[in-house]
């Protein structure tokens, strides 16, 4: 009967109940929705970072990271490749690259770029480039003079498919190496900076141009699962001699890692702020409800109801409100996320979004942990803050309570 009393008492003042339910619904909804948007932003940031030639793990010759010049390339990558092949879990992929700083130029413009020599087939499984070419064609293994450039670079150079691009860099003999390539394909990326920075040729073309022979600058590995990265890197590091360096994407992109920490902290702070605002509403409204029922509590005590049962009855009321609010809030959040599943276009804020490495379109992403956390926080802290009005109700003396006007 306490449950019946609690449930019916909720609806004694429907307006007040609607207010407090609205507060809970908005609280839960905003925690989950904003959490999903932020999680979506984080995911695209990480995915962009990993797909933009980082991969989950990279192997370099020792010293390359500190000074990424052609002389610090892996001249005989066979050992590293064998170790990667041995440790690679099912579903994982790897590729080798030549990566050097270069200058690209045509008749009108010149610009610093990163020249990337790739194995087209393997690279397509590891980074974004395999699916990013939307004009012309992707590189073929036999391409000696073909280059794939970004749309933004193409526009910047005021050139087009089929036209020439001269690429210049320093080779292993410390001489200037220069070659003219034909633009065979144009790629699009989420970030305009990516389109301007990278140009892709085949690895043999790069090795030939730079006199690198069989050398490569890096080996990039893409693992099937995010949570296996650290273990894989550790295993690979142990398997290779000290002349190699193995790094995870977190080490390769410390700024991204820092953004993740900031966002995670922001999500936690946001949830806390939302809850504090909601908690005041819960306490205030529950306290109002308790004071309205002072005489009733006096009657209950006069009839012999123990104080802890009064606490239980008031908390049960809060419990029902919280459960109802949480259910509606979760439903609203789910509907909102479904409605936004096509993505939120941030093109208007493209410059700002790009600064953080976010794509122009954000897709909300529900993480089970975020949903559970939002609901657990609301539920337990909601009950906790309801304890004060409940204890207040249990402490009314029957005589004073019954005499209350």
């Amino acid at each position: 009967m306490f449950c019946i009393m609690a449930w019916r008492n909720i609806w004694r003042n429907t307006r007040r109940t609607a207010v407090i339910l609205t507060a809970i619904v908005i609280g839960v909804w905003s925690m989950i929705l904003l959490g999903s948007l932020m999680r979506g932003m984080l995911t695209t940031m990480v995915e962009n970072g990993i797909a933009t030639l980082t991969g989950h793990v990279q192997v370099h010759a020792k010293g390359y990271r500190a000074d990424p010049v052609i002389e610090n390339s892996m001249t005989s990558p066979g050992r590293a490749e064998a170790a990667v092949n041995k440790l690679l879990p099912p579903g994982g992929h790897w590729t080798a690259r030549v990566r050097v700083n270069a200058v690209a130029s045509n008749a009108r413009h010149a610009s610093g770029v990163t020249l990337v020599g790739i194995d087209p087939a393997k690279e397509a499984k590891v980074s974004f480039i395999g699916r990013a070419v939307n004009k012309g064609r992707y590189l073929k293994p036999e391409d000696k003079y073909g280059v794939v450039v970004g749309k933004a670079l193409l526009d910047k150079f005021e050139t087009r498919l089929g036209h020439k691009l001269v690429v210049m860099s320093q080779d292993t003999t410390k001489q200037i190496a220069s070659r003219a390539f034909t633009i065979v394909g144009v790629f699009r990326a989420d970030l305009e900076a990516t389109e301007k920075e990278f140009i892709f040729i085949t690895m043999p073309a790069a090795q030939d141009m730079l006199k690198l022979k069989d050398g490569v600058s890096e080996i990039a590995v893409l693992l099937p699962k995010e949570d296996g990265v650290a273990a894989f890197a550790q295993g690979l590091s142990s398997a290779l001699p000290g002349s190699y360096e193995v790094q995870t994407w977190q080490e390769l992109q410390p700024m991204l890692e820092a953004y993740l920490s900031i966002f995670n902290g922001f999500i936690a702070i946001w949830n806390l702020v939302i809850f504090i605002a909601m908690a005041f509403g819960i306490v205030n409204t529950t306290l109002m409800a308790v004071y309205e029922r002072i005489r009733e509590f006096g009657l209950l005590k006069a009839l012999g109801m123990k104080p802890r049962w009064i606490v239980q009855e008031v908390l049960t009321q809060s419990l029902f409100l919280l459960l109802l609010g949480m259910a509606l809030g979760n439903l609203l959040a789910w509907l909102s996320i479904r409605a936004l599943s096509g993505g939120i276009d941030l093109s208007a804020f493209a410059a700002g979004a790009e600064y953080f490495g976010m794509s122009r379109v954000i897709f909300p992403e529900i993480a089970a942990g975020d949903v559970v956390l939002a609901n657990v926080v609301v539920f337990f802290l909601g009950l906790l803050v309801s304890a004060y009005p409940a204890l207040k109700a249990s402490r009314f003396t029957p005589v004073k309570a019954l005499a209350h006007n």
Binding site: M1, L299, G304, M305, V399
Partner: protein
């Protein structure tokens, strides 16, 4: 031995900085089966006396023994158990729990006592029949008249088989006809079930029905008389 025995009970209240002596040494004994009215003007101390007998308030000094339970040595928890099992209450107003129906209100005390659900319902409906509210089991207090609400309160007070029923101004908000009906029912309960009733009242109607009148004035018993049969 008396069902209720009060010896030299004193109680003082504070109204701001002013000390107000509500009871100045009241001694009173009520036998089982009594139908007693504590009467007096407003502020005489009759309600205070009733509250102390009912364990809703605590005397500053003096002795109160109800059904062989000495209040002096009882904790708050024991007092609550006393009210639950031995004492029934009928108040002037706001007697019923608004969100419960008539039958649920009557069941409520039995629920606190741990009576099984089926037995609760059976006894509650029987008691409502006895107080003349057949067919109105599922009405909420807001759907009942004042007199009907008081009848439900009496039913609730009696259904748990208490030793005494304390009624504080039970007819105060009722018209004379309704009040008469209520008092007739309570007298019938008293005679049939031998439940002791103690009223706090300044209503002549209640005093007419009572078999014993204890007049309280300025916190003391001014007169204690039993009516001739």
């Amino acid at each position: 031995m008396s069902l209720v025995a009060c010896e030299n009970v004193k109680k003082t209240y504070w109204q701001g900085k002013v000390e107000v002596p509500a009871l100045r040494g009241v001694s009173l004994a009520v036998e089982e089966g009594g139908f007693v009215a504590l009467c007096g003007p407003s502020g005489s101390g009759k309600t205070t006396m009733l509250n102390i007998i009912g364990g809703l308030d605590v005397a500053d000094s003096g002795r109160v023994v109800v059904d062989e339970n000495d209040y002096q040595n009882m904790s708050q928890t024991q007092m609550a158990a006393m009210r639950l099992n031995k004492i029934g209450f009928v108040f002037q107003a706001y007697n019923l729990i608004p969100v419960l129906s008539a039958v649920e209100n009557v069941e409520f005390v039995m629920l606190l006592q741990g009576v099984p659900a089926a037995e609760r319902r059976e006894r509650a409906t029987a008691m409502l029949d006895e107080v003349g509210l057949s067919g109105k089991y599922h009405r909420r207090p807001s759907e009942l008249s004042g007199g009907q609400q008081q009848r439900v309160a009496v039913a609730r007070a009696i259904v748990s088989n208490p030793s005494i029923v304390l009624a504080d101004e039970p007819t105060a908000n009722l018209d004379s006809k309704t009040g008469t009906g209520l008092l007739e029912m309570m007298r019938e309960m008293n005679q049939k079930r031998k439940v002791t009733f103690i009223f706090s009242t300044h209503d002549d109607l209640v005093m007419d029905f009572a078999r014993r009148l204890v007049h309280i004035r300025d916190g003391q018993v001014a007169e204690d008389s039993v009516k001739e049969k």
